[in-house]
């Protein structure tokens, strides 16, 4: 089999206007996302990881959106499921792993990564996202914010207040609604009577657009355009139509509330498979590439889990770290007392 040189293929021509380098990176990252997901679920089963939210089915959506960002100046404000997006933006895997091991030391990214930490309270990160965008604008950085929220999250007051203020302040922000059909056991249809989440934008005075979230190219192009609009001071709501193929989390059993029939078509329109097919046709991707990507991802993920496990040293001391800039004296005393107590190993 003749294998084109990477260089050649990187310039072999766009698909749907998306450059080959992005397509190949997208494919690699989707593979890596699946590898990570699978490993994380396995580690949870072995008791090595806490409750974990798999993203199977949403890889194209998360990766496509993140690749549209300019890592130097654009920000991601995540909820908890958008791991592939954060990784594409530069967040280290081991931090993510440590976080899901229940170690707060993992919940952050180095200063070069323009992203907030995970945030668990549904939609409560959105007001902060608007504030960041507002600040970027005031500083005239040209940067924009990509704020993630789920279909369920759109029902919260925080979603509304944020989307509305973004319009008023003309903030450079894209609200990315991952409409994956479910909020735990609650189907999209019980989340709102609206026909689409993109339609919400009308009520805030800007544009909304719905995109096929299993089509990485479409997501990439849509988010790229949305970011351009946002940079000009007009927020955008992007609704990504996708599906949570797996459980809500590693402690959820979706069979209780949905039939496998519903899942099947979504498995069949897997984002990676769809793009890989087209990329193969265009000579941008091959079995060898796939294998290599999978091997590399496995190596990286395994190494990250090892690093995380080595770094995992939960300690009483961490309880009070970074709660305050100036830890109050009484709290410091409480924590010292607790450290002494815990050091004696009296815990049941």
């Amino acid at each position: 089999m003749i294998r084109q040189s990477d260089d050649l293929r990187e310039t072999a021509g766009d698909i749907d206007g998306v450059p080959p380098a992005v397509i190949r990176e997208g494919l690699r990252r989707m593979i890596a996302a699946r590898v990570f997901d699978t490993k994380a679920i396995a580690m949870h089963r072995r008791g090595k990881l806490g409750t974990f939210p798999p993203c199977a089915g949403q890889e194209a959506s998360f990766v496509g959106a993140a690749l549209a960002l300019d890592r130097e100046r654009d920000w991601i404000v995540p909820q908890y499921r958008e791991i592939p997006a954060l990784v594409a933006h530069g967040a280290p895997l081991e931090g993510i792993i440590l976080y899901y091991m229940g170690d707060p030391a993992g919940g952050w990214w180095p200063g070069s990564v323009n992203a907030l930490p995970f945030q668990i309270s549904i939609a409560a990160q959105l007001p902060q996202a608007v504030g960041i965008a507002w600040g970027l604008k005031r500083r005239a950085t040209g940067g924009a914010v990509l704020a993630f929220v789920g279909d369920g999250g759109t029902s919260e007051g925080d979603f509304h207040e944020s989307a509305n203020l973004a319009g008023v302040q003309q903030c450079p922000i894209v609200f990315f609604v991952s409409n994956n059909g479910w909020a735990i056991s609650t189907p999209r249809a019980r989340q709102t009577a609206a026909a689409s989440f993109a339609d919400r934008a009308i009520g805030y005075g800007y544009d909304g657009v719905t995109v096929d979230g299993t089509d990485l190219l479409a997501v990439y192009r849509t988010v790229s355009e949305a970011l351009a609009t946002a940079r000009a001071g007009r927020p955008v709501i992007v609704e990504s139509l996708t599906y949570r193929v797996g459980p809500h989390s590693t402690v959820d059993d979706p069979r209780v509330y949905r039939s496998e029939d519903e899942v099947v078509p979504w498995r069949q329109s897997d984002g990676y498979d769809r793009l890989a097919l087209r990329a193969r046709e265009s000579g941008l991707w091959s079995d060898t590439d796939e294998l290599a990507a999978r091997e590399e991802a496995t190596r990286e993920v395994d190494a990250a889990f090892e690093r995380a496990q080595a770094a995992f040293k939960p300690a009483t001391r961490q309880l009070g770290e970074h709660v305050w800039a100036h830890l109050p004296a009484q709290t410091a005393a409480q924590l010292q007392e607790l450290e002494r107590r815990n050091a004696r190993g009296e815990r049941e």
């Binding site: 007051g157 609650t186 509330y257 961490q318 309880l319 709290t331 607790l338 049941e348």
Partner: protein, 329 residues
């Protein structure tokens, strides 16, 4: 009597009340087909229909607010707050609307609803799922706050809450859902609301009174057992009701013992333990032989799972406090 864990006792109470009073309905997140994230409403939608057991969009504020409105229309909704930590989103509806409907309408309207909320550590949950926020709600006049400490208690207190004319926040210790097991009375079983109970020991013979509620009562009971082995007799007062507090029982028992340790799973500052201590200071000061000691979590947020073991107050900490109280003079 039948052996039941906490979830099952709660489900039992819900089932009884939905069957008995057709004004009762259950609303919340994932309470329908799924039966709630802890399965406390398992099977209830199938039994009582989609009109009476209703899955709602993720919006805690309107969940509580709509429940208030449903009361005005003659219903008695039971709101399942998925976790107490998410009631913050509904804080204005709980602390300012739910509590004031009656006064604002000079008694014409009332909101006799119950908000059930899992809370407390032990589950290694993500952030906000375990924080002990109960003292925030005990500061809301017009709202009762109740925390059971066993499956039997849960059944009896929940049925009482569901029938009470005032709104009740009913706190369910996550750590107890599966692990607390009890012989729970079958059928209708109602405990009084607003009365503390002696959960352990003899109030006339105890050297120290240990005051606790919810999860911390189990901690106190473990401490009591280990202290008994050392020959130290304590009496454990389980508050049950955090608002209002049963000041009568509290004072009676502490007056007799003369020494007292108050246990909470919450950060100690501003906690229920502080309120209990202040009340005792005012009322039984002259009977105290030693300062009352609060045992609680440090004043930092409930941590992520891996640190939880270092954070939650232990039976040993309670026992130490009892010992130190006995040594104090």
């Amino acid at each position: 009597m039948s052996e039941q864990n906490l979830v099952s006792a709660i489900r039992d109470a819900l089932q009884i009340e939905l069957a008995r009073d057709e004004r009762q309905m259950i609303i919340g997140l994932d309470v329908g087909k799924m039966g709630g994230v802890f399965r406390a409403t398992d099977g209830l939608q199938a039994e009582f229909g989609e009109d009476r057991v209703v899955d709602l969009p993720i919006a805690e504020g309107v969940m509580v607010g709509a429940a208030i409105g449903l009361c005005v229309s003659g219903f008695r909704p039971i709101v399942e707050m998925q976790f107490l930590g998410f009631a913050h989103q509904a804080f204005h509806q709980i602390g300012q609307q739910l509590t004031r409907l009656r006064q604002r309408s000079q008694g014409r309207f009332s909101a006799p609803l119950t908000i059930r909320a899992p809370y407390g550590g032990g589950g290694k949950t993500p952030e906000f799922h375990s924080d002990c926020y109960e003292a925030l709600y005990a500061q809301c006049p017009g709202l009762r706050v109740v925390a059971p400490s066993s499956p039997t208690e849960a059944k009896g207190l929940l049925l009482a809450a569901l029938r009470h004319p005032d709104p009740v926040l009913f706190l369910e210790p996550i750590a107890g859902y599966r692990t607390w097991v009890d012989d729970v009375p079958e059928g209708d079983y109602v405990l009084p609301l607003g009365e503390a109970r002696i959960a352990y020991g003899n109030e006339n013979a105890a050297a120290v009174a240990v005051v606790s509620y919810g999860l911390s009562t189990q901690t106190a009971l473990r401490a009591a057992a280990s202290l008994a082995a050392e020959g130290i007799d304590v009496v454990v007062v389980d508050l049950r009701s955090l608002s209002p507090i049963d000041v009568g029982t509290l004072c009676r028992v502490v007056e007799k013992a003369g020494r007292c340790v108050v246990v909470t799973d919450a950060p100690v500052t501003g906690s229920i333990a502080s309120e209990v201590t202040a009340t005792l200071m005012e009322r039984v000061f002259w009977s105290l032989e030693a300062p009352i000691v609060r045992v609680g979590a440090p004043d930092v947020p409930h941590p992520l799972g891996a640190l939880e073991q270092f954070y939650i107050p232990t039976a040993e900490a309670v026992a130490d406090a009892v010992r130190s109280t006995l040594e104090a003079h």
